[in-house]
Symmetry: C2
């Protein structure tokens, strides 16, 4: 009589509102197949230090699974740990595989972004080289939405939903006095403008993405023209906005000596919006404001997208089923088949084709002047920000899964 299978699951990289939904999906998929799920504490790094958690015990029933789905951040803990190349350091991989074998698992699932898919790709490559039976499957996650091979990534829709909601609300807040003002709302995304672009749902006047070099004079002229027509100008500003030389606008503030604290450290200023607000004040002489959406865009579970949570869960479940079905070296992905009504199919793609690539916003989805997005972008992002269907509250706040000990 064969023993029930065991699978190992970990979370890696920056937290999101949807990464625990994928974890819940992995656990649910394993249970469907009568398999047991074991969690890595603090990703592959914690696992290699011997830190695991029995998810049969920690997530005992459907209530716990549902609560886990709605809880932000990486419940298992996360790490940022780049694996060496298998060819350069086979001892590392031999030792890792030994630990995986010792855990008695037949599959490893890793939920994360680009680096995590790199981890899965390397483990799968090494496993194939040494003829290991262990399956390696990646489940995507990143608010940056910059992974190739999938229409979008879990975490993006919820972040986009908070960004658009926040920009719409700040726009009203900015418009109460009878005076001219410009508000720069700063949005995450160092290299890709997917998240800044999602502000389009709130119809800001200007959207600045990292994909198109910013010319300050052109921006100021555009804002000045807008101010001639209306009181309040809203500029959705990616933190990754760059000038023609590729230099971050954010660094200008820092270089000007405002980025160091009184201990002489480089302060962790998100500088693009502050710099542009200062510039607009100097050039246009009106009230300006810089508002950073900060951490909230990646952890605001109270504003999560139901599409996002549903897909994150379904991709985690698909990962468990695919791994238990023998697939390896793959990432779970979304293939969109229709914008409106939104329809998508889930599938697996080769993870080696995904790792270490970045998907920018296509130029044709960005306005000709580089300071907005096109209706194609709006059609793309709209179905990904569906409102939450049901939130469980406790003491007035959204319920959360209690932290792991």
């Amino acid at each position: 009589m064969s023993q029930a299978k065991r699978i190992l699951v970990g979370q890696s990289g920056g937290p999101t509102s949807a990464i625990n939904a994928s974890l819940a999906g992995v656990i649910a998929g394993a249970r469907e197949k009568g398999a047991h799920a074991i969690g890595m504490r603090y990703g592959i790094q914690g696992f290699l230090d011997g830190r695991t958690v029995d998810l049969d015990q920690a997530v005992p029933d459907d209530d716990a699974l549902s609560l886990l789905r709605d809880t932000p951040a990486s419940w298992l803990g996360s790490c940022r740990f780049k694996l060496p190349e298998p060819e350069a350091d086979p001892e590392f991989f031999a030792s890792a595989l030994e630990r995986i074998d010792a855990a008695g698992v037949s599959a490893v699932l890793y939920i994360g972004g680009n680096d995590s898919m790199d981890t899965i790709a390397k483990l799968a490559r090494y496993g194939a080289q040494v003829g290991s039976d262990v399956r390696f499957v990646g489940v995507p996650k990143t608010i940056d939405n910059d992974l190739v091979g999938t229409d979008h990534t879990p975490g993006y829709g919820s972040a986009a939903r908070f960004v658009a909601t926040a920009v719409a609300e700040v726009a009203r807040d900015a418009d109460v006095y009878d005076l001219k003002s410009v508000t720069f709302v700063e949005i995450m995304g160092r290299d890709a403008g997917w998240l800044a672009g999602s502000a389009c749902l709130a119809s800001p006047d200007v959207v600045l993405l990292p994909e198109v070099p910013l010319d300050e004079d052109t921006l100021m002229a555009k804002v000045e023209a807008l101010l001639a027509e209306k009181n309040t100008v809203m500029v959705a500003t990616s933190e990754g906005v760059r000038d023609a030389s590729g230099r971050l606008i954010a660094e200008r503030t820092v270089a000007a000596g405002t980025g160091t604290d009184e201990f002489g450290h480089l302060a962790q200023l998100s500088g693009a919006s502050r710099y542009l607000a200062a510039l607009a004040k100097e050039r246009l002489g009106c009230k300006t404001r810089a508002v950073e959406i900060s951490t909230f865009q990646r952890c605001a579970s109270h504003c999560a997208s139901s599409t996002d949570l549903d897909e994150a869960f379904a991709l985690g479940r698909l990962g468990a089923l695919a791994a238990l079905d023998g697939q390896t070296g793959v990432m779970c992905a979304v293939e969109r088949t229709s914008d409106d009504p939104y329809r998508a199919e889930l599938r697996t793609v080769g993870v080696a084709d995904v790792a270490n690539k970045v998907k920018p916003v296509p130029r044709e989805w960005i306005a000709a002047d580089g300071m907005g997005v096109t209706p194609e972008f709006v059609r793309y992002v709209r179905p990904l920000v569906a409102p939450p269907e049901q939130i469980a509250y406790e003491g007035g706040l959204p319920r959360q899964m209690p932290p792991l000990a």
Copy 2:
């Protein structure tokens, strides 16, 4: 046959998530009595410039009234305008009353905070002196919750709900890596700690209020002791935290030269959390983070408290009814009769007793060491943050009343 009465309503001071609910309540109260409502554009200042809006037309039906209730910020527009003393500048008041009479209104309702109640108190005083029949009634509004004469103020519950929700979510986000870290979440409230204290619902490790002078060494010792027991320490930090000399902690950053931008202007940094994060990094050598809740705490209608919106509406309605019933020189207020189950009665109080006073958090609701709040504070704030009952969505985002032209 007597003509239908007309009332004039304005909004003033900083916007909140609930101030439009009070406006909706005023309009509803007027309609109940068969009266017409006229709105001041941009508060008393805009009104004195002749700017009004016919609210029968602008808010034609119950659907519009409901949408207005759920829309953040001051829909009529706001101003910051301190009236002179009636005794010092009777000409100003004579001219204002002339305008009010010319508008054919029998009552003026003003929704706002301390300065707005001062406006109502002065108008009522002058009106009584000259024997005017016009009634003057204030409807309270401030996220700061620092008005006397009322258990709490509309706007506070929704702001508190966002603050507590955000602190709970950021706490999860901060806790994903296996390392020691301290996060300072900065919360509005220059002089009173009501809003910072509301973070207690998310159980942060430390709460810093303006009411108790901060001793940095004591704080650092407390944080160090906490870090010995756990990875992640959360400090809810009021922007108004001061040292023993009464100087804002926020100013320390500015004084250190990090508060000016490259144009030499004083940058609008909210500095308390940044300064304390820098200090903790220097003293304790761990990862630190400063997260500002920023504008979101006062405009996040998507996270509004249903208690708050219901009471804001009811107070606005009461204001209209009281004014049409002949009351003047009063502010609508909440009198709490029970914490759990929460019960409150609405009434009017003399506005002269309210204006220009400030209600701090009572010392006995603050922990003995000054770095937290007591269970009394929790019992006070808990019923004010009830989750929204129903949110109307459009394209995935909360629906908003379109801006006035």
